[in-house]
Amino acid sequence: MSRENDGFEFHPTRLQRFLDVAYRFINVFVRWDQLPTMLAAFNIAAFRDRLRAHNLHHTGYGAKSPGPWKPGYERWRSPDGSYNCPGHPRMGMAGTRFARNIPLAEGVPETGDALLEPSPRLISRELLARHEFIPAPTLNLLAAAWIQFEIHNWFSHGRPEAGNEFKVPLPRGDDWPEKATFDGCMHIQRTAHDETKREPWLGATPTFINFNSHWWDAGQLYGHNHHTQMKIRSERDGKIRFDGEMLPEDPDMEGVDFTGFNDNWWIGLALLHNLFAREHNSICDALKSAYPKWNDEELFQHARLINGALIAKIHTVEWTPGILAHPALQFGMPAQWWGVHQRWLHLLLGEDNEVSRGIVGSATDQHSAPYAMTEEFTAVYRMHPLLPDTVSIRPFEKGASETLDFINVQGKKTRALMKKHGFLNVLYSLGTQNPGALRIRNYPNFLRQFQKDRVRDKTKPAPPLMDMAAIDIMRDRERGVPRYNRFRELIGKKRVTSFEEITSIPGIAEKLREIYKDVDRVDLLVGLMSEDLPEGFGFSDTAFRAFILMASRRLKSDRFFTDDFRPEIYTELGLDWIRNNAMKSVLLRHFPRLGPALEGVNNCFSPWNVVT
């Protein structure tokens, strides 16, 4: 196997080459977000092609051969994501490595003291800690739950390893609890080590395993291996097993639903998992009516395929334009799914072009590397500031609302709370309150001193007390994700030369200077949260560059969204289901009483009507 991305290459068309040159010139004078809508949308497409050519770097698969091919894998997804690309069966499989969006030599972590400089705890306290809740007024709290729901589909670095922890010295006067202080230091566990054999061409770049499948396959619902998948199934009519109105409880975790991936459980995740498990069962009912001779396996696998695609569609045409409310994105994201139905564009680009017809249904293409999620994409998805420190539970009809600390709506308390208040009230509550904005000094404080619940098996050690903000900083550093300025450069933006160029938030540039001294040292997360945003954006333009590349790649590389997005695979009913449904119809199918709250709401991730 060659280092040169396993033989994959990007072949730009003449038009793509032309747009690349033209927009390089235009962007010298005008930023993409200040162009007229259509020009800005094509500017994004030019960025994407540039990134496809230069920012996909293979790190080897790591994992050995996948399990044996089974009949049916040609028509539906295997449980672990293997055989999605028949010529490269390991591609995107659970247990394979994260790839990179930067050249491998740029992904080498710093060593010695530099790795801990400046102290991640200092950054947590001085730059990330929430002083006052900054809301994201155009979003509701379901948007925060949604992205976590989706992240649980795409990536998991596994459980951190005990032993050989990073030792972060605590400054005098730090309020970190004594019981979690060791020789004056806070300990941070390391990411699980990649035990697979390293290829010599990896150089000094560390590699890590994605324990989830890399594909957009709704693995958070269905699990990432055959064993888990069988446990969530009822084995009747293709349906997911329910315990009354709710998913059953995880036998290993008190108060947590049993589902495909249930780490970091809270009421937001419970809602979405239950909602889309119900949706799965509704699809099964429809399929059974249309295809009465199908057995449990046929029904389950087809419903899984359809439900997964519906979730991907909601993410693409609703969640993303919700958080990136720029006109070019309002136009571009639906176009990514549906295409642009303009005759002139079809004539210019051809009927099969991904711009004119949409990525979905176009030809599969891995571009310049085998498909895999990347460390850099993981890094830009650090979105903990979306979580508030308190959640209000508002009754949908009448009664007093109750405000709870976030710590009391998560972990082992989740199921009891869901049972006490009911799905309708909790959905309505999350639909009518704002999440936090992805800004500096808005990191939820409960996560800065957080301890996960212990599993039922008491022989396993209790999880350590964590400062998630400090951990977020250390994760990027230990995985060799470049700091903010170099990240900008490598993703196609100019480096900044001063702290003032990053941010105009009052007092932040001075604070950055005081802590970092050198603008090149600013951590990626800090830079992303500080950066001035384009109009309508919920996160930074720098993070957006990684999204431009990777968000479309999740669709374009997956044969079930491209070559195999056809009736022979999905059924006509399945394609109609995906085409005709959206978040609102899913919500109303399972909770029809929400009607008044959703009336006139165009995007279910924006705040709903307050009806009580």
């Binding site: 740029e106 060593t111 000094a204 470049p482």
Partner: protein, 295 residues
């Protein structure tokens, strides 16, 4: 004191010449061995030149591997161990050292001295390594590729000579990238040292009076310069270097200022040359043999 040149879009360069600066830059976490090609056209051109030193599988040659690369450390340790058994190695290359001694003494050999040097270096890795005019031409081509100007480099690439040279060197080295580096690039330093010894021997009664150590001190030089890069800006020996600065370490200049620091082999540095013991032993042996024959 570092000399710095910045021409936006063309080059951002820092020249380090003093031994202290070079040692500090070599140890600094800010300065990296791998070149990104970012920072200017010159950087891009140099990075493109060095990027060819890979196996067909993309395995980078050891001398271009980064400090934190676990394989670099492993290669270095293994090679250091192999090359530290100088007695065995000197026996193995006795015919070559004899031939080179004869060249130093008389100025003539059956084969050109540079081919003998290449074979001697190759045999430190493989007992049956056989150099030829063709293999030396390949090494010369690679050396020209590294140090030549843009037109020469373009011609080498366009004509296919570069690829042919790389393929031949790697084939002769049986895929061993350390051997490939030694027989294609590092050997030129030994050829130059042998040539200087020959000049020494020609003058007065140096061959009679100079000890092997003195001869080595006169003949062995450090590579003229090596290049590094700063990924991010940061302090290097008291100076702040900007991001993507091409850092040129002028080794020979530093060695002349202070010959005792072992800069020619980055002695005691993380990147100490594994041949730091064997190369002086080989040169000493050649001088000794030349001296003995004269006597």
């Amino acid at each position: 004191m570092a000399i710095r040149i910045t021409i936006p879009g063309i080059i951002r360069l820092a020249w380090l010449r003093s031994p202290d600066e070079i040692v500090a830059a070599n140890d600094s976490g800010v300065v990296q061995r791998s070149l990104s090609g970012l920072g200017g056209l010159v950087q891009r051109s140099i990075a493109a030149k060095l990027a060819v030193f890979r196996t067909p599988d993309g395995d980078t040659w050891p001398a271009f591997r980064d400090r934190a690369d676990p394989l670099r450390t492993k290669h270095q340790k293994e090679l250091e161990k192999t090359l530290s058994d100088t007695r065995t190695l000197l026996k193995r290359v006795a015919p070559e050292t004899g031939a080179l001694a004869s060249y130093i003494r008389s100025g003539s050999t059956n084969r050109p001295p540079e081919i003998i040097v290449q074979q001697m270096v190759g045999r430190l890795f493989f007992e049956d390594y056989a150099a030829s005019e063709e293999s030396y031409d390949a090494a010369h081509t690679l050396q020209t590729w590294v140090s030549g100007g843009p037109i020469k480099s373009y011609l080498l690439k366009a004509s296919g000579a570069l690829k042919r040279a790389l393929d031949l060197i790697i084939t002769l080295a049986r895929g061993n990238t350390s051997c490939a580096h030694a027989t294609a690039i590092a050997m030129h330093n030994i050829v130059d040292a042998v040539e200087r010894m020959r000049q020494l021997a020609k003058t007065a009664d140096n061959l009679k009076t100079l000890s092997p150590q003195d001869a080595i001190a006169s003949a062995l030089r450090a590579p003229k310069q090596v290049v590094r890069e700063t990924r991010d800006g940061g302090p290097v020996c008291g100076t702040h270097l900007g991001a993507r600065t091409l850092v040129v370490l002028r080794l020979e200049s530093a060695r002349q200022q202070r010959p005792d620091v072992g800069i020619e082999f980055f002695a005691k540095g993380w990147n100490q040359c594994p041949a730091h013991a064997v190369v002086p032993s080989l040169l000493a042996e050649i001088w000794k043999k030349a001296k003995a024959a004269k006597a």
